[in-house]
Symmetry: C2
Subunit: 461 residues, 2 copies
């Protein structure tokens, strides 16, 4: 929900009138979030003008939040000096994320423009595997020693804390740089200035390792109420950096988005809906649609196989969509419940038996409910106008029993498929609602016709 | 993913051997998150023993993270004194959330056990409408005045900051309590102790109103990189409390979970998957399943209506599942993309025209792709064995053209339905994948048979 900004028009007017001094005064009093919105609503030329007027600190903050494409456009059009200034000011993790996105030769050039020190940091961050905690961390933290007094720490922060990404948490390291504790700034602010850091320590802390998977880090953040967590080297426990919660949040949001898009049966979009080019949108949807279509073609083959029965008992045809879609719906429910529960870490694949047991019972219950409704529908219609012929009871039984089997089967397929995919090392979210529905459609037809063959043998068939 | 704790066994053994002193020593060195996990893995009796051994501060922290049912169990079984101590120690927002969940008479009793001051706070928080920002806020913040020096602020924090939920942000208020600015603690820590607060102020701040919807608050947090935001009264801008990011996070996660569960076609579960009682799980799934089933019954009526045509051209039957499920799949894709984009605030209902235009184009493109594949499938099969008879070309054309229409229609229904629901003041996520699929199934049949009537008139029909 974007509230319409009252000053977008004012800004556009000021630019047209060339009133850059007035404009600058207006802009420096805005929040970074407002400026981001303003820039994203302006034309390319105006975007650059606005951005050039911002003081460095504000410009950097705004830049970090801008759309990748606008960032790219700015990098292409700003002077080399201004680019270098902004890159140097950016927090190392955001800078790494940006460089990831740009073509390699462009990156090489940009890295050259960094100061010696920032270049080292960036190259180091770029060295960790993708999706590792190392990629998220920023080396801007405050490390203190246990023999310092609170006052010494406060003095140290006043002198060296300007670069730190967060000041809420301080990290106590030993002489070798090994992490031995974390302290909240509140503990220091509440303590007497003459107290030693050692006295405040409890040697209890939560940490991440640089090589760890980002998903695990999300889980650890979820279970521990911290705005930042320290990252240590995998072997010796040396403090390398910190990961702050804002980076974790955006990753979590991105993963939730991907899960949801996959659940709906398309590939993840990677970009906001309206910003995704139409062609790439069609590509991301067409792949799965065609695969599902080819899978669904098997229903045509199945029906071909039962063509003789169909011709003899045309009454069976009209319940086909009803029956197969009920299986698909129950499978779609099960798969979305399971995928979300797995994303939240509520259970692991080793709990598959618990899940299976639950879904046998609930699938059976749901199947019985729909089976009874289906049976009743046919019985009631038949009593009004006898459209189902003399064997209506057998037809109704066929539909009812097939529904129990298909709803149960849909529920089981929907819940077990994500677990199976995870076991095979694939993303459970690939088990989309349409995927499960297609799987259940084909098998559902076979269940339906098999029940019909058994029950209607000697009468209709 | 819960890592198996090495000490669960040790703890169980210590309890059995009655070694409570040793056990206590072990427990006080644990992280709250570890203790929560430990308790959730133990039997009811052991849970209480472990919890009783924890010192008050740690006990409260652990309590806040426990499952509602375990919390309830503890409240029922602990002495009134211990309960009062824990409730008094809890942060007001977590306490309000807990009281919300308990039966009214039980709440009345618990509120009585609170201290005068905490009771006032709790009753006040309980007075804001559900899902309002007021419900989330905690009144534990630090308010400072603009004529204080940095040193005075630090002294003030040392004396009064112990109760504050966050110390990272300080709020400057005027004599009437109206919020005039926020300051990060880092700005104070980096400044000279003799500087006045006024000198550090920039009068730029982001705030929430107590009556505001929580969803808006989530949006504001997303757009502004803060660990907490101040809440002011709707009318005069008086500072009432703060909302911290951990509360926002859990709401966001909960909403994402609900969206995903609804998208799959069941009601939101409210509890973790394995913790949901089987009966309530069946209830939450059965409601929609039956509604969808009743909707899907219309397919039977539609087919009944076209029974004459079906009998004449039985070859049409075998493509029914294929055709209607392709429409459902395309609708399911569209609806999940749109629901997620709306949840992220990427566009509002006023942008419906942009969305419609995109989906007409992509729906048409996807329909053409599937139409060509469907046509080709029939042509190739026919060239191998002439199963589709002399009019195979017309049949293939019917299938191909119907596919274009149905995929386009599915895409449009899937994208417009969430917007329509939102417009009607309903939750867009109600437009689940199965809901859209059912809608498309019924209309899809009509499209298919209409195309068939036009193309096959005079030949097969």
């Amino acid at each position: 929900m974007m509230p319409q900004l009252p000053f977008v028009e004012t800004v556009t007017n000021l630019i047209q009138e060339g009133e850059f001094f007035k404009l600058k005064k207006l802009l420096v009093n805005c929040q970074p979030a407002e400026l981001v919105e303003l820039i994203e609503n302006e034309e390319e030329r105006e975007q650059l003008i606005i951005f050039r007027l911002l003081p460095l600190k504000l410009a950097t903050e705004v830049f970090e939040y801008l759309d990748r494409d606008i960032q790219r456009h700015f990098l292409d059009n700003l002077t080399q000096d201004k680019v270098a200034d902004i890159l140097n000011e950016m927090s190392p993790d955001d800078r790494t994320a940006l460089l990831e996105f740009l073509p390699a030769n462009f990156v090489a050039e940009l890295v050259q423009s960094l100061s010696e020190e920032e270049r080292k940091v960036t190259l180091q961050l770029l060295g960790y595997p993708e999706y590792s905690v190392g990629r998220l961390m920023t080396p801007d933290y405050i490390a203190i020693r246990e023999h310092w007094t609170v006052q010494q720490v406060l003095d140290y922060i006043r002198r060296h804390g300007g670069q730190s990404e967060t000041i809420s948490l301080l990290y106590v390291t030993d002489a070798r740089g090994v992490l031995i504790d974390d302290l909240r700034i509140r503990e220091l602010l509440l303590a007497d200035p003459s107290v030693l850091v050692r006295r405040l320590m409890d040697n209890r802390y939560v940490k991440l390792s640089a090589g760890q998977d980002q998903e695990e880090a999300i889980d650890i953040f979820r279970r521990n109420d911290r705005v930042a967590l320290p990252v240590v080297s995998d072997d010796q426990g040396i403090l390398l950096g910190i990961v702050t919660i804002d980076d974790i949040l955006s990753i979590r949001e991105q993963e939730d988005t991907e899960d949801m898009q996959k659940l709906g049966g398309s590939e993840a979009l990677d970009e906001p809906y309206l910003a995704t080019p139409l062609l790439s949108m069609v590509q991301k949807r067409a792949g799965w649609l065609v695969v599902l279509f080819l899978g669904e073609l098997l229903t045509a083959s199945a029906m071909q196989f039962f063509e003789g029965e169909l011709q003899k008992a045309i009454v069976l045809v009209q319940f086909i969509p009803l029956i197969i879609s009920s299986g698909g719906n129950s499978g779609s429910q099960a798969t979305s419940l399971i995928i979300r529960a797995m994303a939240l870490g509520e259970f692991t694949i080793s709990d598959w038996w618990l899940v299976l047991r639950r879904d046998i019972l609930s699938g059976l219950a749901l199947g019985l409910i729909l089976g009874v409704v289906g049976f009743a529908r046919i019985a009631v219609w038949q009593s009004l106008t006898p459209i189902y012929g003399e064997h209506w009871l057998l037809v109704a039984l066929t539909v009812g029993i097939a529904l129990v089997g298909i709803v149960l089967w849909g529920s089981l397929a929907g819940s077990m498929l994500p677990l199976l995919l995870k076991r095979l090392g694939l993303d459970p979210a690939t088990s989309s609602a349409p995927f499960v529905a297609t799987l259940v459609d084909v098998t559902g037809l076979i269940i339906y016709f098999t029940v019909a063959l058994v029950l209607l043998h000697g009468t209709l068939l």
